[in-house]
């Protein structure tokens, strides 16, 4: 079964764009939260990750800060 993937991002950050691009290239469906427009999601992201940098990925509860390809691959079994 496909894993639940959420990404907390802003429209302008290069690593957010890279991360989303990478997921799309690998046919991973994900939910994107624009934390610049959604204050509640911004707070959720800060709570989950304990920091304020974007992007943050939540892959089935595993929190990955930044575009960390190796951890993303591992979490998704790519």
């Amino acid at each position: 079964m496909a894993k639940s993937v959420k990404i907390y991002s802003t429209a302008t950050c290069p690593f957010c764009i890279r991360a989303k691009q990478y997921l799309s290239e690998n046919n991973i469906t994900f939910e994107n939260y624009d934390v610049s427009a959604d204050q509640a999601k911004a707070e959720e992201m800060i709570k989950k990750s304990g920091q304020m940098g974007v992007p943050v990925l939540d892959i089935e509860g595993e929190i990955i800060v930044g575009f960390d390809k190796e951890r993303i691959n591992k979490a998704l079994g790519l």
Partner: protein, 301 residues
Amino acid sequence: MNDLIIIGAGPAGITSAVYAARKKLDTLVVTRDIGGQAAWSADIENYTGYQFISGPELARKFEEHLRTYDLKLKEGESVSQIIKEGHEITVITEKASYRSRSLIVASGKRSRELGVPGEKEFKNKGLTYCATCDGPLFQGKDVAVIGGGNSSLDAALQLIKIARSVFIVNMTDSLGGDVVMRDKVLSGGNVTVFSNSEVEAISGEKFVSAIKIKRQGKYEDLAVQGVFVEIGLVPNSDFAVPLEKNEIGEIKVNNRNETNIPAIFAAGDVTDVPEKQIIIAAGEGAKASLSAFRYLARNKF
């Protein structure tokens, strides 16, 4: 063995790669990220052909162009060492080592750090080096921008629209940067400039809650939730030990992008070329690639 290794994939590295591909050089690009500093710029209005383009968009165009060629690309690797033995160059990263007959160093620059207590602890916990990325998270908050040049003004301009109040902390007696940008920033109603001021420390519990500044010899605390460090850049040249550099660590090149070591070339912001601009870095990248091609043609090892 590769004909050419290019370190970096910003405007200089990518343009080098495109030129190398068109000369059919067997090329490997080793880079930490794609787009380099260009990807972190907000609005670009001086790259010919585009009246207006955002940094991430231009970086994507560069990457698309790069990927139309059959090149080897190692992304997410940082180079720790380069060695030249005889006619062979070895490039060592944290993951692997690669060999080639020629090398272009196009590793660019990174943000300069403040070097004050609290900076490392609060990185991404209120303190950031990228207003474009993290700025939107400071909606309605009080923030400080450290620095008084163009990059500081650029950050302030973005933050004026988002934050409740913006404090600019500047070492000299007045703001530098372009007049047009300075006027825009100063006409923002929520901006206060602290001149002749230096940051001494960043403090808070889990996240930033204040900075201590020294203003004309007196210490003051400013309550802020965000700190944007914009005090210039340093070249990513630490690994380039054998190469000759200037006093600020930029790799010295001549007008053919040759370094002091034959077969090793350098291009873009990591070099001592005057003016750091996307279009200049791209042009320098093209020159470096053509020089490497000529070097390889002359020296068939």
